[in-house]
């Protein structure tokens, strides 16, 4: 009897270990399979040329990925630049100023926002943001813009990641001990001084972690961005030019690539690039976070 229990205990342990390892292996398997699928095009062409060329003519055999890589970065960057101040200020308000009732109303609504399917954000972007840019914003800066732009992609993406950022940051701010803000207030600091000098300072690493998570999501977001971005394989020279991020490239062309082996391999390379960008980015940010925590161990 006792033996059986011990055996069960052991079995459970190894089963869970196995499942855990499997989950990690999955990441490796996805990476490797993308890599091997992308190998033919990397053998055929110089990798550096693939990455730095802006020529994308699949039927002539030109595969330059630079417009897609740049579009991905531009759209994500615009999104985070818009989203960060919004979400930091909102979560500070919710944490330090809002009454219980306001908070009780806000928090479920924000959770709801992050549950809306991307395609709905895409439709909203097409109907609202795109005409707004084409008719009102762009004419002030450039001669012509269709509205389907990097900026539109960035704005829609920003709206999508704001709920995510807010719900993480509210947790980050909530984890600051009340004694600490009380210490500042009891010395006669105003709420705003306390926010600036104590709360933001204490939560800087949390804010960075939230930003990284949101950016990783932004890199990979496909549907909503695809619908408003214009999808032209050219390097965007201003925020009022059309862009073509990597996920949109894959999603748009996945059906037709099958007839051309090098095209298929090129698309796999773009998937692999996206994969590498996200992994590298995560690793890099983990490293920076460690550095920050070590240097400012407060």
């Amino acid at each position: 009897m006792r033996r059986l229990r011990a055996a069960k205990d052991k079995a459970a342990r190894y089963l869970m270990l196995g499942i855990g390892i499997f989950t990690i292996l999955l990441l490796l398997v996805i990476g490797l399979s993308l890599f091997f699928k992308a190998l033919p095009i990397m053998r055929e062409k110089n990798l550096w040329v693939l990455l730095s060329s802006a020529d994308w003519k699949p039927f002539k055999g030109d595969f330059g990925f630079l417009p897609f890589i740049l579009s991905t970065f531009y759209v994500s960057l615009i999104a985070i630049i818009i989203a960060l101040p919004f979400s930091i200020l909102t979560s500070i308000y919710l944490n330090s100023y809002a009454s219980k009732n306001v908070r009780r109303f806000f928090e479920p609504v924000i959770d709801l926002l992050s549950g809306i399917p991307p395609v709905i954000y895409g439709v909203w972007g097409t109907l609202t943001i795109v005409p707004l840019i084409a008719n009102t914003i762009a004419p002030r800066f450039v001669e012509f813009s269709s509205g389907y732009t990097v900026l539109a992609g960035g704005v829609v993406l920003a709206v999508m990641i704001i709920p995510l950022l807010i719900s993480i940051m509210v947790e980050v701010f909530r984890s600051i001990p009340k004694e600490m803000t009380d210490a500042s207030l009891s010395m006669g600091a105003t709420k705003w001084q306390t926010v600036k000098k104590v709360i933001l300072r204490k939560s800087i690493s949390g804010i960075i972690a939230a930003t990284v998570l949101a950016l990783s999501r932004a890199f990979g977001e496909t549907m909503a961005v695809l619908m408003v971005c214009g999808n032209t394989a050219k390097i965007p020279h201003s925020i009022f030019d059309a862009g073509y991020p990597l996920p949109a490239l894959i999603a748009n062309n996945y059906g037709e690539m099958l007839s051309m082996p090098s095209y298929e391999s090129a698309l796999m390379l773009s998937a692999f690039l996206l994969f590498i960008i996200v992994v590298l980015f995560n690793g890099l940010s983990r490293f920076t976070l460690n550095q920050i925590e070590r240097r400012y161990q407060f």
Binding site: M180, M187, A189, Q193
Partner: protein, 280 residues
């Protein structure tokens, strides 16, 4: 960084005495007293403090004792209006600080808090360096001159006996200090806003005996210049350092008086029971 600080020390050592005296003078001129009239405090529907009437003598140590949950900490928070941060707390009555009712209509809460240096139960350094912790008060109150800030920081770190222990790492994080050192840092930080009163909310309950002794000695030293009000859990501590005792029970003040009289000749039965340990 460090070398400039040491330089500042030597160049300012002489001016310390002058500055200290100036503070003493300021404190002597001000009429320091706290007078409380008909104070009632409610938290939601609970009646926490019941009709408190009290005068706290200046330039001495007043200890508030009583079993847990009797309203000691709530009372302390009414003195620097920290209840303002909790909307569920309702306060009625008058609290006169320097002859001004701090719950009056035109009182600026920041001015009130600036008069009160608070020492919390557990030391809570702000997320910045040792130096910046002490400089925090002067900076938020608008002092920008670097020399003046340097001088203040060093002065108060010396005052609490921390300067020699931390002089080579004042730019390092405050959280690496021992808990006793942290509490002395918090005291220095509170003193740096140049308050008139010092409030201690069981300020030694998290500390080891040696650190407790250091803080107690500081309180005794500080009462020459400041009016000190301490909430304490330990009767022995009250006996050791208090000049006056206030005994609270279930939100009421049962008995108040000079320490010796209070301990040797308590007037109320409840006080006698508490002192003999019948309840705690």
């Amino acid at each position: 960084m460090i070398s400039t600080n040491q330089h500042t020390v030597s160049s300012y050592t002489n001016s310390f005495i002058g500055m200290d005296e100036a503070i003493t003078l300021k404190k002597l001129i001000a009429n320091q007293s706290i007078r409380i009239e008909n104070l009632d405090v409610f938290i939601e529907d609970q009646h926490i403090l019941k009709d408190v009437n009290l005068t706290i003598p200046e330039k001495s140590i007043t200890c508030i004792i009583g079993p847990s949950g009797c309203g000691k900490s709530t009372f302390l928070k009414t003195l620097n209006r920290m209840h303002d941060e909790s909307p569920e707390v309702k306060i009625s009555g008058k609290v006169f600080v320097d002859d001004e009712n701090i719950y009056g209509p035109h009182v600026n809460v920041i001015d009130t808090r600036k008069k009160m240096g608070l020492l919390a139960q557990r030391p809570c350094p702000l997320p910045m360096s040792i130096f910046d912790n002490v400089a925090y008060g002067p900076r938020i109150h608008g002092i920008k001159r670097r020399k003046a800030i340097n001088q203040t920081v060093i002065q108060y770190l010396q005052y609490v006996g921390l300067w020699d222990e931390v002089r080579d790492r004042v730019r390092k994080s405050a959280t690496r200090l021992s808990i006793g050192q942290q509490q002395r840092l918090c005291l220095a930080r509170g003193l740096a806003i140049e308050p008139e009163y010092i409030l201690g909310d069981e300020a030694t309950s998290a500390l080891d005996p040696l650190s407790t002794k250091k803080i107690e000695e500081l309180f005794v030293k500080l009462k020459e210049k400041y009016t000190i009000i301490l909430v304490t859990h330990t009767l022995r501590q009250a006996k050791r350092i208090a000049d006056h005792i206030i005994f609270m029970y279930l939100g009421k003040i049962i008995e108040a008086g000079p320490t010796e009289e209070f301990f040797n000749n308590p007037k109320k039965q409840l006080t006698r029971d508490y002192l003999s340990g019948s309840f705690s």
